[in-house]
């Protein structure tokens, strides 16, 4: 620049300056006026000064040039870019330090060597194209290639190349190498990031719309198209109202839009429509798009289709409602209570329906315990507490007092919910079992009734059976009396007549007939005895029992000791007959089963009931094995004796066990025959 400005001063200017300098000299010497010589001298002096000045300028120029050259070299060598001059053959003619550094080698080693080996393999072709093109053109060309350093590292460079032509020299190519590794990385990253956002936008589940300030669609993502059913093409350029606005929702949406325009970037829950007309709920989140100066140039909004979420919400709500419905319509009262206080924390609606207390009452402390039936108020909480302590599920039945005073039976099925290993909550369901309890009660009553009826029937049967026994006794006695009154008398008369006919000695034939009559008489007598011993109704029970003892000894060969208290009690014919027949059966039992030859009959009377004890020291038997002693074939007699006595208000006690003999005690209250 200096050089140039020096040159530009030009000869004319130089002359002017020189003239000026000489005039100044002349002025200094004005008093010496030697004109011609002086004038020549002046010319010479001017010229000399001109020359001096020229020389001075040249010197300055040279200095400037040198400075400039040094600066250039500095620039060249130490510039931030690489300078590379390649010969026509592609050899490195010149390279600055920066270039050498880029190539990763000493400058000295690079000069006169080929450049192409430094180019990354993938970029060789491109570089060669670039080089060839640059050689054949005056234009400045650029190209980006990667270089590979000897250490293997890569560097991205931009080449700005231009052909250099010097007179008498082969053309060369001068290239400026700019390290663009960083830029490229940023660029790559940038493009990757743009691609990423694009991909993000593309792949977003949510719809995205970009509109200008007038609401015209500038861009939409595929999700919005999918969501609305309108294609990208249909949406781009479309203005207000947007095609996916349902006409009926327009007011609502525009109101939201108005808020957005006022800068109120809320989230809006709106209803949009799909192309096929279906309405669907969305959440729209708008944001303003501003330029560098902060002016709003458009709006961007994400649109989330929440119909699925809404459906899930609806399903959840429906499920909860269903659950509530089940809980509240179930017959039982579903409840939850504190495991230690039994205070309710929840009851289903059924609680009020069944018992009349509103749910609020149930939640009051102590409510449940206080409304238990008074008889159940102690044991129910106690039992519940014991199950709770053991954390065992349980079921109990108890009564509860309804608001209107009714007593309601509940079957309560309870589970214990633990927290941190300790009982925390009780949950259960109280089922109203009042009806079944009533039915149960009714059944019990019916059973009792039935039992009473059975007992009544049994009594009737007993009475009937006793009557039958009595009838039998009567029949027996009548038969016996008939035998006695008719047959026995007849036989007696026959014999009397036979004996008187042949007074004195009887002919043998008559004697034979008399013997036959005697035999008939004995038969009649023994049949009479068997039927009903006349002694019983002629002499009474005690003589009859004694006679019975004799008979037993005679017929069965067992010694029967009959010991009777002196007894003047008047027993009814009926009772006497029953007792007689009972003792007779007991003695026959002894004779048949006891395997002994002795038996004792004791009659104890006096104060209190009449007691007759029939005992033996025989083999005994197990009353339990004998069907509780009162049934079964062996003890049929015992059973019928028991029944007969029971009917007369008496009792029978059997004490027997194998090897211990048998004692049968008959007890009968003393009722005199009316």
């Amino acid at each position: 620049m200096t050089v140039r400005s020096g040159n530009q001063r030009g000869e004319a200017q130089l002359r002017v300056e020189a003239e000026a300098r000489l005039a100044a000299k002349r002025a200094q010497r004005a008093f010496a006026k030697e004109r011609p010589v002086e004038e020549l001298l002046h010319e010479l002096q001017v010229h000399q000064i001109e020359l001096e000045m020229q020389n001075e300028t040249l010197c300055q120029s040279q200095i400037a040039l040198e400075e400039s050259r040094d600066r250039y070299i500095d620039f060249y060598d130490f510039g931030p870019v690489g300078y590379l001059t390649l010969s026509e053959r592609g050899l490195i003619a010149e390279i600055n330090l920066g270039g050498a550094e880029m190539l990763g080698s000493d400058r000295a080693k690079l000069l006169k060597r080929r450049f192409s080996p430094h180019v990354a393999a993938g970029d060789i072709v491109r570089w060669q194209g670039h080089f060839t093109e640059a050689l054949g053109s005056d234009a400045s060309l650029n190209c980006e290639i990667a270089l590979v350093r000897p250490d293997g590292s890569r560097i991205d460079v931009r080449l700005d190349s231009r052909r250099m032509v010097k007179e008498g020299h082969a053309p060369s190519v001068r290239s400026v190498l700019t390290d663009i590794t960083e830029r490229k990385r940023v660029q790559d990253a940038l493009s990757a990031s743009v691609e990423f956002s694009n991909r993000l936008i593309e792949s977003m589940q949510d719809g995205l719309s970009v509109v200008d300030v007038d609401g015209v669609h500038l861009d939409v993502n595929p999700a919005l198209s999918t969501m609305t059913g309108f294609s990208r093409e249909e949406l781009l350029g479309s203005g207000l109202p947007h095609p996916y606005w349902p006409p009926e929702e327009r007011d609502v949406i525009e109101a939201a839009l108005q808020k957005v325009l006022q800068g109120q970037m809320d989230t809006f829950e709106l209803t949009f429509r799909r192309k096929d007309g279906e309405r669907f709920p969305v959440i729209l989140s708008p944001s303003a798009v501003k330029d560098a100066q902060g002016a709003v140039v458009g709006y961007m909004a994400t649109i989330k289709d929440i119909s699925v979420r809404k459906q899930a919400e609806r399903a959840l709500k429906a499920s909860e409602e269903r659950f509530r419905d089940i809980v509240n319509t179930t017959d039982g009262i579903v409840w939850e209570a504190d495991a230690t206080t039994f205070d309710c924390t929840f009851v289903s609606d059924q609680a009020q329906r069944l018992l009349g207390y509103p749910a609020g009452d149930w939640l009051k402390p102590g409510f449940w315990v206080e409304h238990l039936h008074p008889d159940d108020r102690a044991w129910v909480p106690e039992l519940s507490a014991s199950y709770t302590r053991r954390m065992e599920p349980y079921a109990i039945e108890y009564r509860f007092i309804a608001r209107d005073g009714r007593t309601v039976w509940f079957h309560d099925i309870v589970t214990v919910v633990a927290e941190a290993g300790a009982p925390r909550w009780l949950r259960g369901i109280m089922v109203d079992i009042t009806r079944s309890k009533q039915v149960e009660e009714k059944l019990r009553e019916m059973a009792a009734d039935l039992e009473a009826k059975v007992e009544e029937r049994t009594k009737q049967l007993r009475r009937l059976s006793a009557q039958l026994t009595m009838t039998e006794e009567r029949e027996r006695r009548m038969l016996a009396e008939d035998l006695h009154d008719n047959l026995a008398q007849l036989l007696a008369v026959i014999k009397i007549k036979l004996t008187t006919l042949a007074a004195g000695s009887l002919p043998s034939a008559v004697s034979e007939v008399v013997a036959l009559v005697d035999q008939a008489e004995r038969s009649a007598r023994s049949i009479t005895m068997e039927l009903s011993p006349p002694i019983l109704h002629r002499l009474g029970l005690m003589p009859a029992l004694e006679w019975l003892g004799d008979e037993m000894e005679r017929v069965y060969g067992i010694a029967v000791r009959v010991r009777c208290d002196a007894c003047d009690m008047q027993l009814g014919q009926e009772i006497q007959a029953v007792l007689y027949r009972s003792v007779r059966e007991l003695l026959i039992n002894v004779a048949k089963h006891a395997k002994v030859r002795d038996a004792i009959v004791s009659c104890l009377c006096g104060t209190g009931p009449l007691v007759i004890v029939v005992e033996d020291d025989g083999c005994g038997f197990d009353p339990v094995d004998q069907g509780r002693g009162l049934s079964g074939q062996r003890s049929f007699g015992l059973s019928s004796i028991y029944e007969r006595l029971a009917n007369l208000g008496g009792a029978m006690e059997v004490d027997s066990s194998p090897g211990n003999g048998t004692t049968v005690t008959l007890t009968i209250p003393c009722i005199t025959d009316s």
Partner: protein, 214 residues
């Protein structure tokens, strides 16, 4: 002449008897009646020497009628004539005052003799009845015993021993494998048999008889 009244509800029997008695000149049937009440009235009215008395009469039995007759008319001899052939009935009849007892079928051979015997102030039993009485006398010779002395059964002895040892009814029931109510029955029975009234008496009895050692 022995004046005789027949008491029997069977006309046929009375006729037969009359036939038998009328064969004897010394005997005269002065009345025939069929029931006790008439017999009592006629006896008072006719004062027969001997009344031949059946036992199985309608209404009051011959035993009852005899009791009343002999009480009212000690002089009238009653001779029982019955088809019954039983020691106790015989004894009852004799106890209430009958002087003799003849089985009805033996009347043809025995009645006249019987009547004569009682009129003579002796008793008369026909051979069948005599056999009956001697049989019972023979059997009674073996254990005579006190009729009031009722023997205790083996069970009662067990219960008495345990009671005397101071055991309670439930304890005894448990030991003997019987029910407490049965123990109670035994206790009551044995007390009555022994004519004791309390456990102290029973203990004394048990010690005295060696059931338990003092």
């Amino acid at each position: 002449m022995i004046r005789i009244m027949l008491v029997d509800d069977h006309t046929m029997v009375r006729e037969a008897l009359r036939t038998v008695l009328e064969q004897d000149r010394g005997m005269q049937v002065i009345a025939e009646v069929g029931d006790g009440e008439t017999a009592l009235r006629m006896a008072a009215e006719l004062a027969p020497d001997v009344i031949v008395m059946d036992i199985a009469l309608p209404g009051q039995s011959g035993i009852e009628v005899t009791r009343r007759l002999t009480a009212a008319h000690p002089g009238i001899k009653v001779l029982a004539l019955s088809t019954y052939l039983d020691r106790r009935i015989v004894q009852q009849m004799l106890d209430v005052g009958a002087r003799g007892y003849i089985v009805k079928s033996a009347a043809g051979a025995e009645l006249k003799q019987g009547i004569r015997s009682v009129v003579d102030g002796r008793s008369y039993l026909c051979p069948q009845v005599t056999a009956l009485v001697t049989d019972s006398l023979r059997s009674r010779r073996s254990p005579p015993g006190d009729p009031d002395d009722l023997p205790l059964s083996r069970r009662e002895v067990q219960v008495a021993t345990l009671l005397a040892e101071g055991k309670s009814a439930p304890e005894i029931a448990n030991e003997l494998h019987i029910s407490p109510s049965t123990v109670d029955v035994h206790r009551r029975n044995l007390m009555r048999k022994l004519k004791l009234h309390n456990v102290v008496d029973l203990t004394k009895y048990a010690i005295r008889t060696g059931l338990v050692s003092p």
